[in-house]
Symmetry: C2
Subunit: 213 residues, 2 copies
DNA sequence: CGTGCATGTTACTTGCGGTAACCACAGTCT
DNA sequence: AGACTGTGGTTACCGCAAGTAACATGCACG
């Protein structure tokens, strides 16, 4: 039968695909997210049309590339989040894992956060449709963990999602800023964010002699 | 002297510039952030080189455009943040103001969050350098307010900045997600986020019968 | 042998950012 | 009046990257 053949070819195609992705990875890491298809193809030792046969268009390639890294990052985040420890410790570990990841490979991070957007024929874009899918996935993931671990009373599911996306956004924006300016150590940043989540904003006293009242 | 003449010409140029910006605004709002220079020029009733004479390059135009909206948004946020009210109320008002803004004009919002990035000759990009400047500005602004209003003890300045960027990121990501899925009303979202900032995450009890321990 | 069929190539089209060179009209100087 | 300058405008082009069409090649199967 040709089933065995088909699987055989399938495997070959998959291997090819993985090789191509790795080449794309190298060149994107080297040249940034603006890497051209020509450059990627050259790095892979082939030419453009093959890339298009495999991934459809640039968006497809980038999506596949992003999925790899996103999955990897999400795995490590899950590990930190699921560790058997106090909640505060888990939160800090998760924050630290994320920050360590973006610190170690800023190029990857930058690529993930700004996937191809300027592609022509891009109409019909409902807001947020192709806005960083990594953030969305992380938000959903975190929401799930929150919802299944915490007792939030009625409306817990929606609240968990709000918090999931909110916390992820906090982590992301703070990390982005921190990576650009490096105003403090990673540990300090982690502590600061955890403190924020732990309600220190609400607990802090008004500054004496402040403006207004 | 030609000083009066110069100011005269300056004014004419400024008026022109504003007209061009308004045309650009219209077309960006209509066609999204991927709007071409040609389209913008056509909308303004002129041709490309004039745009380039005024704004240098596409990045310049987009920066000018973004500055207008960013300034406007920041103004309304400042108003909400500086209102004479309890802290929680102020926070909720600020969140609501932001969400109302992005809800009212999602196209503007989307444009602001993803300014041109794919320009060629883009190497030497330190991470975060051209990543959404609106977020940065909002973060810094909020940090300043926090720092001058709250008594945070030692290291208050850095902590305030961490919180500023963190909170802004939270607001942004949650808003982005919410705008895409509309899973709940604006008021519910505001409440949820404020609750998060008020430490309900830390205060929540473990779910009974949860997985693991 | 020829017929598929996957893999690869060259060479092209299209569209965009950006620029050079040219045009026209206002005012100014002599 | 007529040459001189500068400002707002245009056409026509370059370079480059995405994406495609059409052609070539190698290999299994009847």
């Amino acid at each position: 039968m040709d089933t065995t053949q088909r699987t055989e070819q399938q495997r070959s195609a998959d291997r090819r695909r993985r090789e191509l992705l790795e080449a794309a990875d190298r060149v994107v890491l080297r040249d940034g997210p603006g890497a051209s298809m020509n450059a990627i193809a050259a790095e892979a030792g082939i030419t453009k049309p093959i890339l298009y046969r495999h991934f459809g268009d640039k968006g497809g390639l980038y999506a596949a590339l992003a999925k790899r890294h996103t999955d990897a990052l999400l795995d490590s985040l899950r590990a930190a989040l699921d560790a058997p420890a106090e909640r505060r410790e888990r939160v800090e570990a998760t924050l630290d894992t994320y920050l360590a990841a973006i610190e170690a490979r800023p190029q990857v991070y930058r690529f993930l956060m700004h996937p191809a957007e300027g592609s022509p024929g891009d109409q019909g874009f409902d807001v947020g449709k192709h806005s960083a899918p990594l953030l969305r996935r992380m938000g959903e993931e975190l929401a799930q963990v929150i919802e299944e671990r915490l007792d939030l009373g009625p409306g817990s599911q929606q609240l968990a999602r709000v918090w999931g996306h909110g916390i992820v956004g906090m982590m992301h924006a703070a990390g982005d800023w921190w990576l650009g300016e490096r105003p403090c150590s990673r540990a300090e940043l982690v502590r600061g964010l955890a403190d924020l989540l732990w309600g220190r904003l609400a607990a802090a006293g008004d500054k004496v002699g402040g403006p207004g009242f």
